[in-house]
Subunit: 345 residues, 2 copies
């Protein structure tokens, strides 16, 4: 068992218990709304019966607790923040699924397909609110008022950053030209901001050293960027048997990810050929794949993306080093980062 | 000029400036999202050009400042809370309009009809977050940490209450039977909760006397209930020339409001006749109105609703009395309450 596996086995039950406590309440007249949220979390089926559906990996709450430990605090005290980041992540998934019209998530029907869009929008709003109420629980966990307020500021600025990233991501769909630089700004909000906040929240709970907490923010930010770019690589060149997604699915849907945007921005005939394919109105078929993959290869798309992922991964580890935290928590964060970046699924 | 008009003239510019500051920021790449929010607020047209569209009456922020004054504080200090309640009110309108499929609000196209549902959901989430960030501004306005945290707790519990009320309201549409008691619980969340919180927030900013602040909460709660029931009465028996809505529009749409729910719950042949009309699948026409209005009259629907509005209004004024605040602020809140309850539009 690795140290991360050991830490997860130790803390996941407390994380789950804190999350469930947040969604257990509610007045009798609004129980249906709380059941919707529990369905989304994978704890209940559509009829409100307990089930154990596939859940997320709880990466963000684990990062909160590990960063708290690294910065010299007791993970126990950071549990309300761990619950808050997981709830806000799930709130954003509920609304994203509506915004994208996604029918399934984690192999189950998305909430809006069962409850309708109006009730699902509202249940998302409720989960967003419960995330903040969870964070306010830091006070009851004995965290000093000034620290709680620091965490609330960071949390709300992060939520705003999430909406800004989501705005950009949706606006990319209707824009013909998106640059790699714009893409990196977008994923900084949509993917990296919450991981960055998770690491910093743990550090802010642990210590008064706000400057050190910013290194933890940077660690999560760079890790999030690296993770997303690696996700982009897997979406094109990943092993179908490992990712569970059909190979090159991101190509067929013309998804604007870093390798593609990089290739589309290259001058010369290969870039021109790719731009023509991406600009055409015709659906892409499996037959088109060899041509597109050859163009991406000749334009250096994969090696550019791999280099970018590597650069951000190195920056994450350097930021962790600079934070100068305790050896146990720092080792856990490093191991978790390497595990996330070494994944093939 | 009444005292309320004088107070409004004095404070509305500062309220507007605080609101505009919240929506003025944002990074270059997300300016489109901030423009959506400014459009919703009536400050810009669909092309982002300044306009002066009809806005809300800013009742909630005025209540915050008046309650702050009544509880012995300086209204200036409560401006961040005043902006927060107005922003959360407008966030809820953005999402309500999507949930209800409403094409217009305040004589303008609703945000989702211009920006599409996905971007409007996300812009609503952003405004919700900006409301919280506005409230955190209390700290910069010199309010002590413990007070700020008290305000944040109240604010988030209120937001949760809003989603619970909205859940109920939407679920009523698909339910054949709704009792008057259920209706009052729903409007306590959907309409009264934010007015109650507005009054209590002002008091919490002003003073450490949490017990007194609860009287202000009760004042806003009872005022909100009375206001909504009066709105129900106007929706059926209001003067078309004054309300701007076609007379009896709430009847033709079979809206489940207190007078109707009360009448539907009455035993006997008149109640039975009304139940049959409301249960039928056929559209209601203007021809049906005289019969329905006669049944409502014979069942005592209007007098029941008027009595309920009066009871809640009296309870609001009694709570204000019990709060024992300063004479100037208390007189303003009383005058505002009476003006709201005496309205015919």
């Amino acid at each position: 068992m690795t140290s991360v596996q050991h830490f997860s086995a130790q803390w996941l039950p407390a994380i789950e218990a804190t999350l469930r406590r947040q969604l257990a309440g509610g007045p009798p007249e609004a129980q249906g709304m709380y059941a919707m949220m529990r369905y989304h979390m994978g704890w209940e089926d559509a009829l409100g019966q307990p089930e154990q559906a596939p859940q997320g990996k709880r990466v963000r709450p684990l990062v909160v607790l590990m960063a708290c430990l690294a910065a010299g605090g007791a993970p126990e005290q950071a549990l309300p923040a761990a619950a808050a980041v997981e709830l806000v992540h799930n709130f954003s998934l509920i609304h994203d699924d509506i915004e994208d019209g996604s029918p399934t998530r984690r192999h189950r029907a998305t909430l809006w397909t069962l409850a309708g869009q109006p009730q699902a929008i509202n249940a998302g709003d409720a989960m967003f609110t419960l995330a903040r109420l969870a964070l306010l629980g830091l006070g009851e966990a004995g965290v000093a008022d000034a620290k709680v307020l620091r965490c609330l500021h960071l949390f709300d600025r992060t939520c705003l950053h999430l909406t800004e990233g989501q705005y950009q991501d949706m606006s990319f769909e209707t824009r013909p030209h998106v640059t790699p630089a714009e893409y990196l700004v977008m994923i900084a909000g949509k993917t990296a901001a919450l991981l960055a906040a998770s690491a910093q929240l743990g550090a802010l709970v642990a210590s008064e050293d706000v400057a050190a907490s910013e290194h933890y923010w940077r660690f999560g930010h760079e890790l999030g960027l690296s993770f997303q770019v690696q996700d982009d690589i897997l979406g094109i060149w990943g092993d179908e048997a490992l990712t569970g997604k059909s190979a090159a699915s991101d190509i067929l849907t013309r998804k604007k990810t870093l390798p593609v945007l990089y290739a589309l921005a290259q001058p010369g005939p290969d870039g021109e050929a790719l731009r023509e394919i991406y600009a055409s109105a015709a659906d892409l078929e499996a037959d088109d794949l060899p041509t597109i993959l050859r163009l991406l290869d000749r334009l250096g798309a994969r090696s550019h993306a791999e280099a970018a992922a590597g650069t951000h991964a190195a920056a994450a580890l350097a930021a962790l080093e600079a934070a100068g935290g305790g050896s146990e928590g720092t080792a856990l964060l490093r191991e978790l980062a390497l595990a996330l970046l070494g994944r093939q699924t």
